[in-house]
Subunit: 256 residues, 2 copies
């Protein structure tokens, strides 16, 4: 950190997989990685904290990769921990560079000077969303109307309270695709699936949808899977087997 | 144009003026220029057509510069004619690369192949909005909540019909700032000022507001000035003298 408290960091564009996919679905994983790039050290966290759900969404990337291959979908994911910058939050939201997450203080985020907030925004948030925007616009210009589905995982115990919900389907302004996914999940699986659980748009968790889907009128949904159900690669694969037909049927129902 | 019908063009980021301005207002001029970069020749248009309102918003940039200096505002404007790509339209809107504008055919835009649509989107539209986005996010991260005001001009005669309105104030989802500007214009000037004239959000003219203001909850307005009232530099200056206090008072009223 220089005298002004500002990190001069490289930019971190998103990772794009399956870029030439022919399907309409664009999968987005804002919390794919717990990587903290060099300029930010360890943010004052223990190794356990840096692998916990506060740093990323465990299992979300593996599940998203499984869905991408089964759905012929593009996958766009962020390469930096949400504790450096949470790409699903606007720069003026408290959760963008949180000083506390659930029961953990984040020492490296305490009292951030405004220049450091601007530097992280420019290094992590802006390149992620520019990369996603360019990809979406390219597909739209070619006539392939994108359908945006964001993939998240949530902790089974939060502030000491166990969560029963296994599969949360969250909507923002347009609830058509989320309601279709919920209906298909209830018809095709035994997962305990619920609308707008364990979070909803009121909790400001739908930033990516508001930024990329709503202004263009694109169908969109945010999916939350309880992370004990995708705790290793075989479990991620089983969940992808379960959810790919659910998502495919819901998108087909919209088009029908 | 190569065999695939695609222009390999340079990218065209926006021009930013008064970048260090301390005020909250960010002025945006999507139709500032009638410049057609080399790859696109003259689009098959006559010199008269290339200087007409179909190619740009005459007077808008001069007025916006006058407002920027009087309001201590940043100004962001597009360097390419709306006939190559209209930066106030999404890539899937017919007006983005129009084959016809008012009573004029645009030969260079007839039956564009999808790769050419994608190339123009990548060359003109995406860099413009990425540049504006980065600027807005930098200011937001520093705690300077932006207020977005887009500056346009309209032709006094459209499809042969004269237009009486002189100053149009257009809102999208959030009508607070536009209504405040309209009230101040009616109180402080003799301009014939009207809400949502000569266009409204229903005509898909508020794309920039939907993309940059609504997702972040930023106050915003689109201003349309009849172009015969800003037909030369002295007229642009007089209009800036008239409208700067109107805009400043409206923004102050929002904050009050």
């Amino acid at each position: 950190m220089n005298a002004g408290g500002q990190h001069k960091a490289a930019t971190h564009p998103p990772v794009v997989e399956n870029a030439s996919a022919a399907g309409r679905i664009v999968l987005v994983c804002e919390h794919a990685s717990n990587h903290i790039p060099a300029p930010w050290g360890d943010l004052g966290l223990t190794p356990d904290q840096r692998t916990a759900h506060i740093a990323w969404d465990p299992g979300a990337l593996g599940l998203a990769r499984g869905l991408a291959s089964r759905l012929d979908a593009v996958l766009v994911h962020a390469p930096v921990s949400r504790l450096v910058y949470d790409c699903n939050r606007a720069p003026d939201m408290p959760g963008a560079m949180p000083a506390r997450s659930e029961i953990h203080d984040i020492p490296g985020n305490a009292s951030l000077p405004s220049e450091e907030r601007a530097a992280r925004t420019a290094s992590v948030y802006v390149p992620f969303h520019d990369g996603l925007h360019a990809l979406l616009m390219g597909r739209m210009a070619r006539g392939l109307a994108p359908v945006i589905v964001t993939i998240h995982s949530f902790t089974p115990v939060y502030f000491g309270q166990p969560r029963a919900v296994e599969f949360g389907v969250i909507h923002d302004a347009d609830d058509r695709l989320p309601r279709a996914i919920l209906a298909e999940a209830q018809a095709r699986t035994t997962l305990l699936a619920m609308l707008n659980e364990p979070y909803s748009a009121k909790d400001d968790v739908t930033h990516t949808l508001r930024l990329h889907a709503t202004p263009y009128g694109l169908p969109n949904a945010m999916l939350e899977i309880r992370n004990d159900l995708i705790a290793d690669a075989p479990a991620e694969d089983r969940m992808a087997d379960l959810l790919a037909p659910v998502i495919a049927a819901a998108v087909a129902a919209l088009q029908g």
